[in-house]
């Protein structure tokens, strides 16, 4: 599995503006429990617009910027493939359909308050959504652990600080990112 050019290492084509709009609208309406796993599935696995590495890099950029990650990712992706128009298309696709749905839900919630048995169904969906995120994370992280080097160590430190010690994420990020970038700078030849 090292150099046999798996599908995730080949870029198939460039998306048009309409492609971008339709792709993010599709991601947004199926994106239960966060849109990111769906975005990766569409961009890397199905349409192959980005390689696994390019996706990780674009995602790292959108996570490092303030604001909602998925929205940032839509802007980064749209701007890269379609400039300002591409960014607008991605944003409209990502936010349009969910905004219509959530506004309808907001009206219903204000009128009827509790959702009763819906809670049971939600509990099951939430458990599934967690599993989907885990599968995506394993796929994203796997290339990092192919070699024993500093990047996997940095990833483990970030995980331990946020997931196990439960330090605030912005704090961990601001503390760890400069160290990691400094190591990368020194290691660059």
């Amino acid at each position: 599995m090292t150099d046999s050019s798996p599908p995730s290492s080949v870029v198939a084509s460039r998306p048009t503006l309409i492609d971008i709009l339709r792709a993010f609208a599709g991601v947004s309406v199926s994106g239960f429990g966060g849109a990111l796993p769906w975005a990766r599935r569409m961009i890397v696995d199905r349409r192959q617009w980005m390689t696994a590495e390019e996706f990780n890099e674009a995602f790292a950029l959108s996570q490092f910027l303030p604001g909602p990650n998925t929205v940032n990712f839509a802007i980064v992706f749209g701007a890269r493939f379609g400039g300002a128009a591409g960014a607008v298309m991605a944003l409209v696709g990502l936010m349009g359909p969910p905004l219509i749905i959530i506004t309808a839900l907001a009206v219903l919630y204000d009128r009827y308050g509790d959702a009763g048995t819906l809670n049971h169904i939600l509990a099951g969906i939430a458990a599934s959504a967690a599993g989907l995120l885990i599968a995506m994370v394993v796929k994203m992280v796997a290339p990092l652990f192919k070699r024993v080097d500093w990047p996997p160590a940095v990833a483990i430190v970030a995980f331990v600080c946020v997931a196990l010690i439960r330090w605030p994420l912005p704090l961990v990020f601001l503390g760890l990112a400069p160290v990691s970038v400094a190591i990368a700078w020194v290691k660059l030849k």
Binding site: G67, A79, L122, A123, G124, I134, A158, V181
Partner: protein, 174 residues
Amino acid sequence: MNSPLLALAGYFALLSLFAIGGANAAIPEFHRIAVDVMHWISDRQFADMFAIAQMSPGPNVIIVTLIGYHVAGLAGAAVATAAMIGPSCFLAYGATRVWDRFKEARWRIAIQAGLVPVSLGLISASAFVLARAADHNAVAGLITATTAAVAFATRVNPLWLFAAGGVLGLTGWL
């Protein structure tokens, strides 16, 4: 100055620029402002809105739309949403242009190489925290593990896995 629309715009525009780590990382801050500082909604209403934002499709940041609607109707929903995503969108667009222009610069390569592992560690932590929040018991844990295994090994549309999870939830075993 105590117009609710102005308050929504001010708080969420500020949060937009300071919410490093995304919507889920900003949840405690949403709660502090909406429940403790402004008394817009109760604790229970906040929990309800979070669940609704989670179950509805799209980015989880959409919880601000619900808060905004509750505070000031449709105008509140629009103002809260625009304030929360507007400033960070402009910043992200500018950053992308700069980022792509300096593709070959050493500082850019070093920042990227340094950020990717941090970012991967953080997203792993999100998965861990989310799984712990969702898995109150063994059945839920089994659903999570099964979904993870199937989604990793196959290309089955995850909506089927969610449907299965929802049906199992309906049995009341969770």
